[in-house]
Amino acid sequence: MTEDSELRWLTLLVVGASFAVYIGIAIWSRVRTTGEFYIAGKSVHPVANGMATAADWMSAASFISMAGLIAFLGYDGSVYLMGWTGGYVLLALLLAPYLRRFGKFTVPEFIGERYASKAASAVAVICLIMVSFTYIAGQMRGVGIVFSRFLELEIGQGLVIGMGVVFLYAVLGGMRGITYTQVAQYCVLIFAYTVPAVFISLQVTGIAIPQVAFGANLLDGSATLLARLDAVVQDLGFASYTEGSRSRIDLFFITAALMIGTAGLPHVLVRFFTVRKVSDARSSAVWALIFIAILYTTAPAVAALARYNLTETIQPGPIGHPEGNMVYEERPGWFRRWEDTGLLQFEDKNKDGRVQYYNDGNAEFNEQATEYGWQGNELSVDRDIIVLANPEIAQLPAWVIALVAAGGIAAALSTAAGLLLVISAAVSHDLIKRQFRPDLSERGELLAGRLSAAVAILLAGYLGFNPPGFVAQVVAFAFGLAAASLFPPIVMGIFSERMNKQGAVSGMLVGLLFTSAYIVAFRGIGGISPFFADTSENWLFGISPEGIGVIGMLLNFATAISVSSFTSKPPEEVVELVERIRAPGADEA
């Protein structure tokens, strides 16, 4: 067998085996009641829930894209590390225990009851569905990329298979099926992420633990990994790896927007509804963060190692020497295979048959490059391939590559399934049952839940196959919008007894409108072109559209507090609800 077909068979075998496990779990855990369908009958063990939450939380973006982003952004990429883990701290301290004590099914249900308002609940449903769909489209896209690269299927075929598997265990198994498949998926994805990281750490530094290898000396002992990386990338005209290039104030606001936005993500919040009691919600939050931290502290090490490996492969000799660069005809197998996907592209601008990879946007370095006879950067690398190509770049055995493919799919499917369930619960419970058909029977609601999950899967698959042009932009902004709209009413619903529905609704609207207006003004949307050039001189206080959700959130809080102070106090039963979720009840003894 050739190298390529061996890899293909191994990948089919590993991915197929993981699918068989997920479907087996779905059949074993199929559900019969809405309580089991929405929140797994509140019977999930905290450690299992921690793993499921971690798999839910870590999407295709965390698994496939994040290390790649950091590899090219260096220090600036820290916003994703601190943002996504720090947001989890906010969620665990400010939201999760109280929502669990509230003890119902969904986030819109909490907002609806806390503000005694169907309108507030409807606004929350709309925010939730918008955020969830933009997310799912990205997950489905991730599944498509993995299938097309590793199994050489069309992206469309890959999507159909992925949708079929999610359909089976989400529609049959509901939250219970999703929970236990997510536990299995966490195991697959963390194994798939850390094994190549350990191998590569060993190859480059001789140390097996990526978090330590990250700060260690290179094998030849000449310098530390980071010092060498800093030197090499700056010699090629890029920004220093450990210092980055964006302004600190912008990084500050982007980090805050990611933190607050992720804290309000409904598919993660709902995971805390599934455990037996409030103290279990707190301990499962600890477990989840530990499981998340294993990947999140490995990712920046993978990023630095991958950037180092990539640069050394392309530029094995001294910079500027006529024979310093890789000869295109002698390119390694992975280079050829990723070229086939279009995610890696080479154009021999100076016709020397060698690959030059440098920052031709840096005017100063460009002059020097021209002296070397270089005529522009010749390689474009899609950031998404860093994690997926990493084992190949490091020449790891084929089974490791197959494992990474299964891990990428596990990460995408687990998040997609969690989001689908949140959408179906919002539709069947918050819209159909609570807004339109309060007399709906238990069986009717369960059927409605299954049907809306099925419709949501089809829609998500369509969005993954035909991503509208703006999806990529919107995904980055979903966090800002969630921060500006959903986070404040939930927090104030718990921590302020005085907050009423007028305050909450006007705050949500102000936050949402301000944030979306700012984003549209600088980035445009659909057919609307931006009103201002998207440069830091034009930005309000130098804050980019990615970070503006924080200002939107502050406006939301300010509006809500002032409006509520001159409107009536919330009714007695709401005050009782707030008191009930604040302190443990007798059942928690």
């Binding site: 220090y75 820290s78 301290l93 600190r248 931290a293």
Partner: protein, 84 residues
């Protein structure tokens, strides 16, 4: 312990946890990063280490501490109420 006392103790604990959360990420990882980068931690610049590793480790410790303290606080509150 009254429900009010329990709530105040809860708020103090959250405030403490959030100050640590802010100090390691926004403080050491972002605002003070250039100053901390003058120091080294093994092969890392210290500020860079906080931004890409240290803050995450501290986040885990913060949540462990929070869960442990809340468990004690709950037990204290519930035992006093049973005694009433």
């Amino acid at each position: 312990m009254s429900a009010g006392d329990y709530w105040m103790a809860n708020l103090r604990l959250i405030a403490g946890c959030l100050s640590v959360w802010f100090a390691v990420s926004f403080g050491c990882g972002l605002l003070l990063v250039d100053r901390l980068n003058q120091f080294a931690l093994g092969g890392f610049k210290l500020g860079f280490w906080f931004a890409q590793q240290g803050s995450i480790y501290v986040f885990v410790l913060v949540l462990i501490y929070y869960a442990w303290r809340m468990k004690r606080l709950d037990a204290e509150y519930l035992s006093r109420r049973v005694g009433e």
